[in-house]
């Protein structure tokens, strides 16, 4: 467990599949995720094999976000596409418990993960992509110190139209300099 102010991160395990199954079947969670999770819902079998793939992927690490008070699991955060030679990785996060939204828990989880990425894993750059219409997430990433660096035009098709995704990143020097 690595601890922040309000949340801690523990490594995801196979038995967490039921959490992911529940979160990724909640329309409110899927609504703003964009291309990565374009499906309407997911079966238990599909989620099981997705979790196995995530655990076997040596270029990825996934954590369950736990509320420190009470120990309730509230979401999933991870680094994927970890490129050790160039010291970069992509960040992905969902807060699956909708009742916990807007309490700064996601921001706290990102803070813990960035600290781990830069100060323990010695990475240099963390980047992410976010759907242009996901204003709540974009505001959170900016608060965490991510900078806009580009736009993936017509990144995915959603609600009857092509949608862009924003590309954002933070460097180790920026994280330490805040």
């Amino acid at each position: 467990m690595i601890e922040g102010r309000q949340v801690g991160l523990r490594l995801m395990e196979s038995q967490d599949v039921w959490l992911l199954y529940r979160w990724f079947n909640d329309r409110r969670v899927l609504e703003d995720l964009g291309s990565g999770h374009g499906y309407f819902c997911v079966s238990m079998e599909e989620e099981k094999s997705a979790v196995e793939r995530m655990l076997q992927d040596r270029q990825a690490t996934h954590f369950i976000i736990m509320k420190r008070e009470g120990g309730q699991p509230i979401g999933l955060i991870g680094l994927v596409s970890i490129d050790e030679r160039n010291a970069s990785a992509e960040l992905r996060i969902i807060v699956g418990e909708v009742s916990e939204w807007d309490n700064g828990l996601g921001e706290d989880a990102i803070e813990v993960l960035l600290n781990h990425a830069f100060n323990a894993k010695n990475l240099h750059r963390i980047w992410l992509r976010v759907a242009e219409y996901n204003g709540r997430a974009i505001a959170c990433y900016r608060k965490c110190g991510f900078k806009d660096e580009g736009r993936s035009r017509h990144d995915h098709y959603h609600k009857g139209a092509w949608r862009d995704a924003l590309l954002m990143s933070i460097l180790d020097s920026e994280f330490r300099g805040r």
């Binding site: 050790e84 030679r85 160039n86 010291a87 323990a120 010695n122």
Partner: protein, 176 residues
């Protein structure tokens, strides 16, 4: 391929293995290596197959005429700590003491600092192997300590010197 003046470094091919086996069966060539005779071709083929699975790389040292004279490798690469070890062998004895190894090491150091972005490169070497230590010093390595009784050879335990070069040492050498 890393190209220098005297030598170039390239990846080893299966056809290089009999040459490696010949070097490792020569007790003079291997006197300061951790591994000596006997070595078999099938054993070496297994080593080669394992090599393809690692990020740790071995390169062939070739003269500008294309003659294979030795090999040099990156070992124990740790990305998070940005460090690695190197090991080098000039297997063809007529190329000893002529600057071939020194240039091969310099080429590999440039690759490791400027492409792999490492912070520290270290090696250890039999303390009686003064020829090698002088070569490493020329390349910018400094002795930083000893591993006592680190190897067993010829019936006795012997000491190794530990040498390293940091990024700041490399930058100092290349500031012009």
């Amino acid at each position: 391929m890393l190209q220098g003046k005297l030598v170039r470094l390239r990846y080893p091919e299966r056809g290089d293995l009999p040459t490696f086996v010949r070097w490792f069966n020569d007790s003079e060539t291997t006197q300061f290596l951790l591994r000596g005779p006997p070595m078999g071709l099938e054993e070496e083929e297994q080593w080669y197959a394992d090599l393809l699975k690692h990020e740790e790389k071995v390169f062939c040292i070739e003269t500008s005429e294309g003659k294979l004279i030795g090999n040099i490798g990156i070992m124990h690469l740790q990305w998070t700590n940005r460090n690695a070890e190197i090991g080098v062998l000039i297997g063809e004895k007529e190329y000893w003491s002529r600057g071939f190894g020194t240039e091969a090491i310099a080429l590999l150091l440039r690759y490791m600092f400027e492409e792999l972005n490492l912070e520290r490169i270290s090696l250890y070497c039999d303390e009686t192997n003064l020829r090698a230590q002088r070569c490493y010093q020329k390349c910018g390595f400094r002795q930083e300590g000893k591993y006592r009784h680190h190897r067993f050879k010829g019936g006795v335990f012997t000491n190794d010197v530990v040498m390293s070069i940091l990024r700041e040492d490399w930058d100092g050498l290349n500031r012009t």
